[in-house]
Amino acid sequence: MSGLRAQGLTRRFGDLLAVDGLDLRVAPGELYGLVGPDGAGKTTTVRLLAGLLRPDAGIIALDRGALGYMPQRYSLYGDLTIAENLTFFGRLFGLSRAERTERAQRLLRITRLARFHDRRADALSGGMYKKLALACALLHRPAVLLLDEPSNGVDPVSRRELWDLLYEFVDEGMAVVLCTPYMDEAARCHRVGLLHHGRRLAEGAPAALVAQLKHPTLRLQTAQRDAAERALATDPAILALSPEGEGLRLVLRAEDQAATRARIEAWGTLEVIRPDFEDVFLALLNDPRSVEAS
């Protein structure tokens, strides 16, 4: 079985087109990030892939017997302990007692949950809970793992540990689809798809997408940051605008940047800077062709 493949994935909720003809291909050992703001269709996509929703159109090819899924919301038995949750899901995946014990011990060690093994899941902190949920999803060594905003509500240390655990399994050949609204997390994926209103705006390795951004990114140094932001917010030639320190960070439409720069320089001094992944994403929301086709 080679990873996951989906073609023309479409799902409506009433009038809302949540996922619109999405193609997706994730190879074994690949960490794929579905990135987008809330409401972009990330969760719907993952639920379609997990088989929890029926697509209105499209094909999904993946081995359901080797699927791991970690939903965004709570999904473990709060009145069972860490060990009991692991045992239960291990049994459902048909693992033998020996396999269960060995794998659970390894996962508990990596997640540093071992000494809490008899604590009830609803008494765990947000980070510990997510680590347990990930451990439950990894217990049967899935070939494909679906993660819906895994680090939502997780402290930085636990987040680090979640990622370490994830990389370990990806290195062993697991294909991962991970949803996240956080650009720093997206930057850690091998490949990302930027999702907006159910459509993919761009796809590629984060570094490649940054390199392919055809619009310039600039920083404006100004004494009147808030006034400048209000004045420039509606400028159609400015594709992205976000406060950064005392100044503003902007992506300008390449085609008419000379005129735009002149308008902006009325507020302060401009310098060209290296774009980051978030700039790419924000620019794509306004101009779907911000990234030169590779």
Partner: protein, 373 residues
């Protein structure tokens, strides 16, 4: 398949054990209700409150009243001289019968003339009024015969040429508790198994755990069997306890083979547990599941013939009661416990339950799969 069913069942047991409230709902509440309902649901007419207005005040009138009140059926709550005041007691609800003995009662008897004793009955409780009326008529006839014999008069009341001597089978004393306790047991089993499974599955939906289960390779049939298995066993335990308590406290006989009750109970619960799952697969929250279960329980109880005989229902309604699993369970319980019915006697009821159980269970499994895929 077996491993998965057991995994789910073990998880359910573990969760139930950890939740004393569910455990109480499953075991303690049914037993308390059995005892309370067993005492409360009772159609035997005894201790009917009587207000006596004896306008005659003679040895005869007092003997008549004393003999009447000596039985279990009537109980004097007041003795008033005035018939109007006695009637007022009935209207006020303090007495169910006003017995008015007219002046000249003794004189008429001594003269060998007929005399009317008036009984005003409160008809708002029809059952009690009818029983009281019949008892009074029979008593008056008996007493008159005895009076005639004692005073050496020619009896004014002779035995009728044709007399029906009823002999009541299975429940010779017409003790209504013996009749009702099996019905109460079937009701409790329905309530416990339906509500607990409906709420249990709805809770998995609410908590998101169902989604996690559904991405595992477990089939929806295995999931459902695992979920209901522990509650089925608890239900059988409740049933055994109900039969035992019914015998010990209410004197419900045990004339037939208990394994038939066990088999009937198991098949019955296949339908009630299946209905619970069905309700839960349609509900999104535990509240919705509870409401759904509640709306099923009332008609199922009313149509079961537990309270009122099915033969009294309108003709169009009677065939519908065949679709009520509780009807069959009540018949099985009454058949085995009271009549000593055999497996062959109860084959139709058992087959109905088996058929409905499989249908409901399959439908619930399909509904669950549909909802989530």
């Amino acid at each position: 398949m077996t491993t998965e069913i057991l995994a789910v069942a073990l998880k359910e047991i573990r969760q139930t054990r950890r939740d004393p409230r569910t455990l109480a709902v499953l075991v303690v509440a049914p037993l308390m209700q059995l005892i309370l309902l067993g005492f409360a649901v009772n159609l035997d007419v005894t201790h009917v409150p009587v207000v006596l207005a004896d306008a005659d005040q003679t040895a005869e009138s007092r003997a008549f009243a004393e003999a009447l009140l000596a039985g279990e059926t009537f109980e004097a709550v007041a003795a008033l001289p005035d018939p109007e005041a006695a009637a007022a007691e009935v209207i006020a609800g303090r007495a169910a019968i006003a017995l008015i003995i007219p002046p000249g009662f003794a004189a008429a008897l001594r003269a060998g003339r007929a005399v009317d004793v008036q009984a005003l009955a409160d008809g708002s409780d029809a059952q009690r009024a009818v029983v009281a009326q019949n008892t009074l008529t029979a008593f008056a006839a008996r007493w008159s015969l005895a009076y005639s014999a004692a005073t050496g008069q020619a009896p004014r009341f002779t035995q009728a040429p044709v007399e029906i001597r009823p002999r009541v089978l299975y429940n010779p004393t017409l003790n209504s508790r013996v009749f009702f306790v099996p019905g109460v047991a079937a009701t409790l089993l329905l309530v416990v198994t339906l509500v607990v499974t409906a709420m249990g599955l709805a809770r998995e939906k609410e908590d998101g755990t169902l989604e996690q289960i559904l991405v595992t390779p477990i089939s929806s049939e295995a999931l459902m069997l695992g979920k209901v298995l522990p509650y089925g066993l608890i239900g059988l335990f409740d049933l055994a306890l109900a039969v035992t308590l019914g015998a010990a406290i209410f004197g419900v006989p045990l004339r037939g083979a208990l394994p038939i009750v066990g088999l009937g109970g198991a098949l019955y619960m296949l339908t009630t547990l299946g209905l619970g799952l069905f309700v839960a697969s349609a509900a999104r929250t535990q509240q919705q599941a509870f409401m759904g279960a509640f709306f099923l329980i009332l008609p199922m109880t009313l149509l079961s013939g537990f309270m009122s005989p099915i033969s009294n229902m309108p003709a169009w309604l009677q065939p519908l009661t065949l679709l009520d699993p509780m009807r069959h369970m009540v018949e099985i319980l009454r058949g085995v416990l009271l009549k000593g019915a055999s497996l062959a006697d109860l084959a139709p009821q058992l087959l109905w339950l088996a058929g409905m159980g499989l249908t409901v269970f399959t439908a619930a499994a399909v509904a669950l799969r549909k909802r989530l895929a």
